[in-house]
C-alpha cells in the first residue's frame, strides 16, 4: 500500500485541540505522526511503531525482523549503542520493545523533561545503523536470549488461521543464515524492513500537541521525501464462501478450537472483544446440552490478531458455536450491542494513561486518503461509531469464516464415531 506524501498540516490550523482530539498527519519523509495530550501527570509516552514483523521474514531468513529490531538498538553515527534506553532510564523512565507478527514497537514512558531528547533519539533510530560484524553478533545474542512471543497459537496454527504461510515459522529463531549475513546485507535489510516510511511516531504528552509537533518536524526535515511504504496485509479469505469452517490439523489441544482472523483495524478487534464478551454471557437455551461450556479469548496481536472460541461438553462443538453465533445475529443482538458498548468503554478506560493511549494510537490503521482525516480519539481508536465495527469484522459471526484447529489424527487410528464428546480444558485466559 503506498500513498503519496502529504504535506504536514499547518499546526496553527489545528490549534485548540481538546482532550479528546489528536493530531494525525504524514510528514514528507513518509512517517505518520500521531500526537495527543494527557496532562494528568508530567509524563509522556512515545512509541515508534514500524509496520514490519514476523510475517515479513524471508523464507530463507526466519527470525530476521526480530533480530533487526534488536539491531536498531545498536545506535549509528549519532547514537551510542543503547543510548535510547539509557536516556529514558536516566530520567527515571521505562523503555520496552515489542516485536509482533506485523508490527515492531519501541515504547518509552518518560518524564516530560526528557521528551525532546527522546524524540531526537526516535528521529535517529532508523538511520544508517551500525552494521559492523561485532554489532550484528551482539544483536543476535540479544535476540537469542529473548523469550518466545506470548501467543495462544503456534506458528503453524497462526499460518492456518490467517491463511498466510509466511507465518508458519519460529519468528524468534536465530539461525545460521542469519549469522552468516555480512555487513552490507544487514545494512540493506535494515533499510528495507525498518524504514520511517513504514513507521508511525506516536506521542502522548502533557504538552500541547502543536508544541510537540513543532519539536518533531525539524528533526525529520532533513530526510528525503518518500511515499508511504506499508506492507500489504490483506485478510486472505477462504477460497470460496463456505457454510462450514475449514479444518486444519495443527492444534495441540484435545478439543477443537475455532479461530477467526481479526482484520488489522481497531474496529475489528473491538468487535471481536464484544463477540467474546457476548458469547460468555449468553444463556443456555433448549435444546442445548446442559454440559455445554463456551469460552472465548483474543490473541491480541495488533496486526494479526485472532478470535478463539472453544466449546466443550458437546458432541459437535462447531454446531454449538454456530448456533450461538446465529443467536447473536438474531435474538441476542441487543446483548452483542451492549457488549460492544462495554468493550468501547473498556478501551476508553485503558487509554486514561499516556502509555495506554499511545498503544491504541499505534494500533490505529492508516486513514483512507480519500476520507476526511480523523481527529478525535474515538474515531482513531474505533470507540465512536460502534455500528461501523460490524463492517470491520464481517466474518466474526460467520461460522464458515472460522478455521477449526484440531489435533492431527494419529496414524493408523480411525476415528470412532461413538467416541465420547470432545473434552479438554477451556483455552487459557478464556473468560473475557
Amino acid at each position: 500500500m503506498t500513498e503519496p506524501p502529504a504535506p504536514p498540516s499547518d499546526p496553527a490550523s489545528s490549534a485548540q485541540l481538546s482532550r479528546d482530539q489528536a493530531l494525525d498527519l504524514l510528514l514528507p519523509c513518509g512517517l505518520r505522526l500521531r500526537i495527543a495530550r494527557d496532562a494528568t501527570l508530567p509524563v509522556a509516552a512515545v512509541i515508534l511503531a514500524i509496520e514490519s514483523g514476523a510475517e515479513d521474514d524471508p523464507p530463507e531468513l526466519p527470525g530476521l525482523v526480530h533480530a533487526l529490531a534488536f539491531h536498531a538498538l545498536q545506535g549509528n553515527y549519532v547514537l551510542r549503542p543503547g543510548e535510547g534506553v539509557e536516556t529514558v532510564h536516566g530520567g527515571g523512565g521505562v523503555a520496552t520493545m515489542a516485536v509482533g507478527l506485523g508490527q515492531i514497537r519501541y515504547e518509552s514512558v518518560l518524564p516530560v523533561s526528557r521528551l525532546a531528547e527522546v524524540l531526537t533519539i526516535e528521529s535517529m533510530r532508523l538511520r544508517a545503523s551500525r552494521t559492523t560484524a561485532s554489532a550484528w553478533k551482539t544483536s543476535l545474542a540479544w535476540a537469542t536470549s529473548d523469550p518466545p512471543r506470548a501467543s495462544l497459537l503456534r506458528p503453524e496454527a497462526l499460518a492456518a488461521v490467517h491463511r498466510q504461510p509466511a507465518l508458519a515459522h519460529n519468528d524468534r529463531a536465530v539461525t545460521d543464515p542469519l549469522r552468516a549475513l555480512n555487513e552490507g546485507a544487514v545494512a540493506s535489510l535494515m533499510r528495507a524492513k525498518l524504514d520511517y516510511a513504514r513507521a508511525t511516531l506516536v506521542v502522548v504528552a502533557p504538552t500541547p500537541p502543536q508544541e510537540v509537533l513543532a519539536l518533531i518536524e525539524p528533526l525529520f526535515a532533513d530526510l528525503p521525501p518518500a511515499p508511504r511504504r506499508l506492507p500489504a496485509r490483506p485478510l486472505a479469505a477462504a477460497s470460496a464462501p463456505r457454510l462450514t469452517p475449514e479444518i486444519a490439523e495443527v492444534g495441540p489441544q484435545r478439543a477443537p478450537l475455532l479461530a477467526w482472523p481479526i482484520p488489522p483495524a481497531p474496529a475489528a478487534s473491538l468487535r471481536a472483544h464484544a463477540i467474546c464478551r457476548a458469547l460468555a454471557r449468553q444463556r443456555r437455551v433448549d435444546p442445548e446440552d446442559r454440559r455445554l461450556k463456551i469460552s472465548c479469548a483474543i490473541d491480541p496481536d495488533p496486526r494479526r490478531g485472532a478470535m478463539l472460541v472453544q466449546a466443550v461438553g458437546v458432541d459437535d462443538p462447531v454446531a454449538a458455536v454456530a448456533l450461538r453465533l446465529e443467536r447473536l445475529r438474531g435474538a441476542d443482538a441487543p446483548l452483542l450491542n451492549a457488549q460492544l458498548a462495554a468493550a468501547a468503554d473498556d478501551r476508553r478506560f485503558e487509554r486514561r494513561t499516556p502509555l495506554g493511549l499511545a498503544r491504541q494510537l499505534a494500533a490505529a490503521i492508516e486513514p483512507d486518503p480519500a476520507a476526511a482525516p480523523a481527529t478525535t480519539l474515538d474515531a482513531l481508536t474505533a470507540t465512536g461509531e460502534l455500528e461501523a465495527s460490524a463492517a470491520a469484522f464481517p466474518g466474526g459471526l460467520e461460522i464458515g469464516e472460522a478455521v477449526v484447529l484440531v489435533r492431527p489424527a494419529a496414524p493408523n487410528k480411525t476415528r470412532d464415531p461413538d467416541a465420547r464428546p470432545a473434552g479438554g480444558k477451556p483455552i487459557p485466559g478464556a473468560a473475557p
Partner: protein, 534 residues
C-alpha cells in the same frame, strides 16, 4: 513483549483560595441546582490558604502533578475528606488514610482490621470493576479503591456499608488468618532493624514487628477494639481523585452509615447528612490526625557518634547460624523542617544509593536514615576475589583496617571508611542533577504506569508536609528543592548529618549475624552490647 529494563526506584504563585467554613445541611445541597456545592451566590469561601501552589505548567515543569487545591470537607461524623478533581478523568480513586499510632499497644490488630475492611469491600464490590488495595506506610495503613468514575455511586455505597459494620467478628477472624498466612517470617535482620529504629524513634520495637504467633494471640475483643479505633471517622482522612467535584449524596450516605465510635448518636442523627467545607480556624487539620502527637525524637543518646570517644555501643544480635552472612545497620534521625532540608536529605540518599544500601524515610519534619552493610561469613575465609571486591583500602581512619586481623571486620571497616569518603566528597553538579531527575522522574513514571492515581501521590505529599496548607504544593516544592541544590550545600549538609565520625551526634547501630564469634570479632571496632532476641 520484552521488557528491556526498568528503572525505578515524583515561579511560585501564591494562591490564596478562601472558602467559608459553613456547615451546610445536605438537604439544602441536594435541593440546590447542580452547582450546589459551588453556589455562585455565596460569598467567596475563606480558610485554608494553600502555600506555594504552582500553576499547571509550572507543576509539570517541576515534575509534579498539576492538581488544584482539593475541596476540603469535614463530614458530620468528623471524617475529613480531601477531594481532588481532575476535569473529565475517567478513573476514580478513593483512599482511606487510617492512622495507626494510637494502636501500637496491639501490634498487628490494625493490619487485621484494615485487611477485614478490604475483604468486606471486595465482597460488596465484586460485581463492579473496582479493585481494593491495602498498603502500609509509616504510622498509617491505607485502603484504596480504584475503579471508574462512572462507578462512584457503587464505590461510596460499598464504603458506607463496610464502614457501618460495628464489630464484624467473623470477618476479623478471616482477615486475621489471611494476614497471618501472608506474613513473611520475622528474620533476625528485621528483628535487629526494628530494635535499631525503636531506639531512635522511641516507638516500642514490638509495635514495629508482626509475626503470625502474635497475631493469633490477639483476642476477638482486641480485634474488635482495633476495628473500632482504626475506623473511627474522627481519625480518618479520605482522599478522592475523581473526574467530578464532590458528590454530596454519596457523602451523605457515607455519613449516615458511618458514625463516630463514641459520638452522641442522637446528635449525629440530627446531623447525619451535614458536611462542612474546610476545617474551622483552629480546628485540627488532616495532618494533625495522621501524625502522632508524641512524635518527638526518641531516646537516642543525643551525643553518640559511631567512632571516637563518643561512639555508641554496637548492639549485636547473635542469630542462629545460617548461610546468610548478616549485616551491620547504622541509622539516625535527621530533622527535615522544610523542603530544602528534605531535598538535601533525598539527594544525599540517592547519591549514596548508587554505591551502597542507603534508605531514607521522610515523615514531615523528620526523616529516618538507615545504611545497611553486609557482613560476610566465616573468619579467615576471605578469598582473593572478595578482597579485591572490597577495593583498595581508603585513607585510613581509626581503627586502621590493616591492623585488624579478621578479614570480615577488615572489610567492614573499609566499607565504613568508603561510606565516610562518599559522605565527605563534593559531588559534581551534573551528578546532582542526574540523581534529582532520576528520583523525581521515576516517581511520576511509576505513578503513570500504575494508573495515574493522584491519591497515592497525595499520600506522598502528606509525608512531605508539616501543615495542611503545604499539601497541594508539596511535591512541586520538593522537586524544586531537589533540583536547586548546589554541590557545596549538599556537601555541607552531608558532613553535618551523615558523617558519623565528625558530624552531628545522634547515631545508633546494630549488627546481626550467625557466626558464633561475631560479637568477639566486632569488639575490634566498637564497644559491643548484646541485643536481646526476646
Amino acid at each position: 513483549m520484552r521488557q528491556l529494563a526498568r528503572l525505578a526506584s515524583a515561579s511560585t504563585l501564591r494562591a490564596r483560595l478562601t472558602r467559608p467554613a459553613l456547615a451546610l445541611l445536605l438537604g439544602a445541597l441536594v435541593a440546590a441546582p447542580p452547582v450546589g456545592c459551588k453556589r455562585k451566590d455565596q460569598p467567596p469561601p475563606e480558610a485554608p490558604i494553600d502555600d506555594d501552589v504552582p500553576p499547571e505548567t509550572e507543576a509539570l515543569e517541576a515534575l509534579a502533578p498539576p492538581w488544584r487545591p482539593p475541596e476540603r470537607l469535614v463530614l458530620a461524623n468528623d471524617a475529613h475528606v480531601h477531594w481532588l478533581t481532575e476535569d473529565g478523568a475517567l478513573a476514580l480513586h478513593v483512599r482511606l488514610i487510617l492512622p495507626t499510632h494510637h494502636l501500637r499497644a496491639a501490634p498487628g490488630a490494625a493490619a487485621v482490621a484494615a485487611e477485614a475492611l478490604a475483604l468486606e469491600l471486595r465482597r460488596l464490590l465484586q460485581r463492579s470493576d473496582i479493585e481494593v488495595e491495602v498498603s502500609a506506610r509509616v504510622d498509617r495503613l491505607e485502603v484504596a479503591l480504584h475503579g471508574r468514575d462512572s462507578e462512584q455511586g457503587a464505590a461510596f455505597s460499598g464504603l458506607a456499608r463496610a464502614l457501618a459494620l460495628a464489630e464484624p467478628r467473623a470477618l476479623l477472624e478471616r482477615a486475621r488468618e489471611l494476614v497471618a498466612a501472608n506474613l513473611p517470617p520475622l528474620t533476625p535482620e528485621s528483628f535487629a532493624l526494628s530494635a535499631l529504629v525503636s531506639g531512635l524513634t522511641g516507638v516500642p520495637a514490638a509495635a514495629e514487628r508482626l509475626d503470625a504467633e502474635a497475631l493469633r494471640a490477639l483476642t476477638p475483643a482486641a480485634l474488635g477494639a482495633a476495628w473500632q479505633a482504626l475506623l473511627d471517622p474522627s481519625r480518618v482522612l479520605i482522599v478522592v481523585h475523581s473526574g467530578r467535584p464532590s458528590d454530596a449524596p454519596a457523602l451523605a450516605r457515607l455519613i449516615s452509615a458511618w458514625r463516630s465510635r463514641d459520638a452522641d448518636q442522637s446528635a449525629l442523627d440530627r446531623l447525619a447528612s451535614a458536611l462542612r467545607r474546610d476545617p474551622e480556624p483552629g480546628e485540627q487539620g488532616a495532618l494533625a490526625r495522621i501524625r502522632p502527637k508524641d512524635m518527638s525524637v526518641g531516646p537516642a543518646p543525643p551525643d553518640h557518634l559511631l567512632r571516637g570517644p563518643k561512639a555508641a555501643p554496637l548492639r549485636v544480635l547473635q542469630a542462629a547460624p545460617d548461610k546468610a552472612g548478616g549485616a551491620l545497620y547504622f541509622a539516625r534521625i535527621i530533622p527535615t523542617p522544610d523542603a530544602q532540608q528534605r531535598g538535601l536529605a533525598r539527594l544525599a540518599q540517592r547519591l549514596l544509593q548508587e554505591d551502597l544500601d542507603a534508605r531514607l524515610t521522610i515523615v514531615g519534619d523528620r526523616a529516618l536514615f538507615v545504611v545497611r552493610l553486609p557482613l560476610q561469613r566465616g573468619q579467615g575465609k576471605a578469598t582473593p576475589e572478595a578482597e579485591e571486591a572490597a577495593g583498595e583500602p581508603p585513607e585510613a581512619t581509626s581503627p586502621a583496617p590493616e591492623a585488624i586481623a579478621d578479614p570480615r571486620i577488615r572489610r567492614l571497616v573499609r566499607a565504613l571508611d568508603t561510606y565516610l569518603e562518599l559522605v565527605r566528597e563534593r559531588p559534581n553538579r551534573q551528578r546532582l542533577a542526574q540523581a534529582a531527575e532520576l528520583w523525581l522522574g521515576a516517581r511520576m513514571v511509576q505513578a503513570s504506569i500504575t494508573g495515574e492515581d493522584w491519591t497515592a501521590l497525595w499520600s506522598d505529599a502528606l509525608d512531605l508536609s508539616v501543615r495542611d496548607s503545604q499539601l497541594t504544593g508539596a511535591l512541586a516544592r520538593d522537586a524544586r528543592a531537589m533540583l536547586s541544590q548546589s554541590p557545596e550545600q549538599l556537601q555541607a549538609w552531608c558532613q553535618r548529618w551523615l558523617d558519623f565520625e565528625r558530624g552531628a551526634p545522634g547515631w545508633a547501630w546494630v549488627a546481626v549475624g550467625g557466626d558464633p564469634d561475631l560479637s568477639a570479632a566486632l569488639r575490634a571496632i566498637a564497644r559491643v552490647e548484646a541485643l536481646d532476641p526476646g
